[in-house]
């Protein structure tokens, strides 16, 4: 395996267009980066924003959603519903400190095997440049203060010394 850090991308592809396009990429033996894991849904309208948050929280560095082009959704307008949710979710994720490039929505038709390849390769490069998101590691790092404090109490130190897990609440420099 290559030495480079490999981002983990979770993709939600609609059954009718994008999943089929990914199959086509396979049948056409196109080659693309191996770090995307596709989860098949019937329509991009099924993409619950919870899935995206959950994927990020469980360690995905990025999430890709693939659906049919406008007017082409197998279920008429599921893709529009997806688009609308996506736009607000993207803004909200930004407010939560997650770079915009980490979530991407692409319309890929059943004929666009090439586009599957291009999008996945592009995204892999972009995310590689951004570096890991690493939310599970962040959760663990955040919760260290708790573990450290619990140990501190356990050791009977709580009333004697401040817990080292907490940076001292320093006096302001100017006083």
């Amino acid at each position: 395996m290559s030495e480079q850090w490999q981002p983990r991308i979770v993709a939600f592809f609609c059954n009718w267009c994008t999943y089929t396009a990914a199959d086509l990429a396979g049948v056409s033996r196109l080659k693309y980066a191996a770090n995307t894991r596709v989860i098949r849904l019937m329509c991009s309208g099924r993409v619950d924003p919870q899935f995206i948050l959950d994927a990020l929280a469980k360690g995905a560095d990025a999430v890709l959603i693939g659906g049919c082009h406008p007017f082409d959704c197998h279920y008429a307008e599921g893709n529009y519903k997806c688009l609308r949710r996506f736009q607000l979710l993207k803004r909200m994720l930004k407010d939560m400190g997650i770079e915009e490039q980490r979530v991407r929505l692409e319309w890929i038709s059943a004929a666009e095997g090439e586009k599957v390849k291009r999008v996945i390769n592009e995204m892999t490069e972009t995310i590689r440049a951004l570096g890991p998101l690493g939310i599970p590691q962040k959760f663990a790092a955040w919760d260290q203060e708790m573990e450290a404090f619990a140990a501190h109490v356990e050791a009977g130190e709580a009333l004697k010394t401040p817990c080292s897990a907490h940076a001292p609440q320093q006096e302001p420099a100017h006083v």
Binding site: D48, I52, L88, P168, V175
Partner: protein, 324 residues
């Protein structure tokens, strides 16, 4: 047979939860007759040492309100967990992080700096920081420190039941106490409130249209609101994504639901769900039109996670340091 022992404790909270307990008024007297209150800082004087001296599991139930924000709160949560058969997260803050959970959008340092130095109410030259320890006559005393992360009670210790609400209504509190006293307890981990969303008990429900096609969103202060479902008026109401049980006090009182009862048991992230439902029902199809409609929700985190940020899937703004 001796009376069951009950404890009340408060962590990072506003005091509203305590108020509800007091609001039970005559009921509380009835309760007091049936139980022994072993800890209730707001009303009675007990010491940490008293609790520590009790055998483990000797308290039947502890109602703990407030988020876990400080080291002392964490310590108390752990102690009370050890001493209690049932630990009950009481109120939105213990349940979901509550309003204090919104602090998970900022680094600790920024919060300290603002509150003790930059806040306009602090006179120049009097800026200071509370210490976490000081030594006098050779003895060191420690004071609680602010954690970097605001946590729900169940992110710190195992929780048996949740009584939701900011604050929980007397009715819902009574239901919890009754369940406890009668021993008719739901499965562990349950939220003691109905498991459907609020619209069901809101009198505005009948005015809902069959088609939404949202074209703009307004915040409550930007609009004169009438008797219709708030959503039908373009005002974000968290009702559809929020557990029922409050008797729709907010919407009956003229304000949209802000979500304090948290999501139903089927939902992992209350904010994501209301976002999904509102956005799906936008009228716009073009990206810029969609953007224009959504401009009416300038602060999605504050709107959709008013009480639930700490309990949300992401918990906290992701790029904040673990320690500052």
């Amino acid at each position: 047979m001796s009376k069951p022992k009950v404890a009340f404790y408060w962590c990072a909270s506003c005091g509203g939860c305590e108020e509800t307990v007091v609001d039970l008024a005559e009921d509380i007297l009835g309760v007091v007759e049936k139980v022994d209150i072993v800890l209730w800082p707001v009303a009675m004087d007990f010491k940490y040492k008293d609790i520590e001296a009790m055998p483990d599991k000797s308290i039947t139930a502890t109602f703990l309100n407030g988020a876990i924000r400080m080291t002392e709160q964490e310590e108390m949560a752990r102690l009370l967990r050890r001493k209690s058969v049932y630990l009950i997260a009481y109120g939105s803050c213990a349940h979901l992080g509550g309003i204090p959970g919104l602090a998970n959008q900022f680094p600790r340092e920024q919060i300290l700096k603002f509150n003790y130095e930059d806040a306009p109410t602090i006179p120049k030259g009097e800026q200071t920081r509370p210490l976490t320890a000081f030594t006098e006559e050779g003895r060191t005393t420690t004071l609680p420190a602010l954690h970097n992360v605001v946590r729900t009670l169940d992110q710190v210790v195992d929780v048996d039941y949740y009584v939701p609400g900011c604050p929980p209504t007397p009715k819902i509190t009574r239901a919890a106490v009754d369940a406890l006293l009668s021993g008719k307890l739901p499965p562990k981990g349950s939220v003691i409130a109905p498991d459907h969303a609020l619209c069901d008990e809101c009198s505005r429900k009948d005015t809902k249209p069959d088609k939404w096609d949202f074209v703009e969103f307004k915040r409550p202060h930007q609009k004169l609101m009438d008797e219709k479902c708030f959503l039908a008026q373009g005002v974000v109401c968290m009702g559809p994504a929020t557990r029922a049980g409050c008797d729709a006090v907010c919407t009956e009182g003229g304000m949209p639901c802000t979500g304090c009862f948290g999501p139903t048991s089927r939902v992992r992230d209350q904010g994501a769900k209301i976002l999904s439902s509102l956005c799906s029902n936008l009228a716009a199809k073009e990206e810029d039109e969609i953007e224009a409609t959504l401009a009416g929700i300038p602060d999605p985190v504050g709107t959709f996670y008013r009480y639930g940020l700490a309990k949300s899937i992401l918990r906290r703004k992701i790029n904040l340091p673990a320690k500052s």
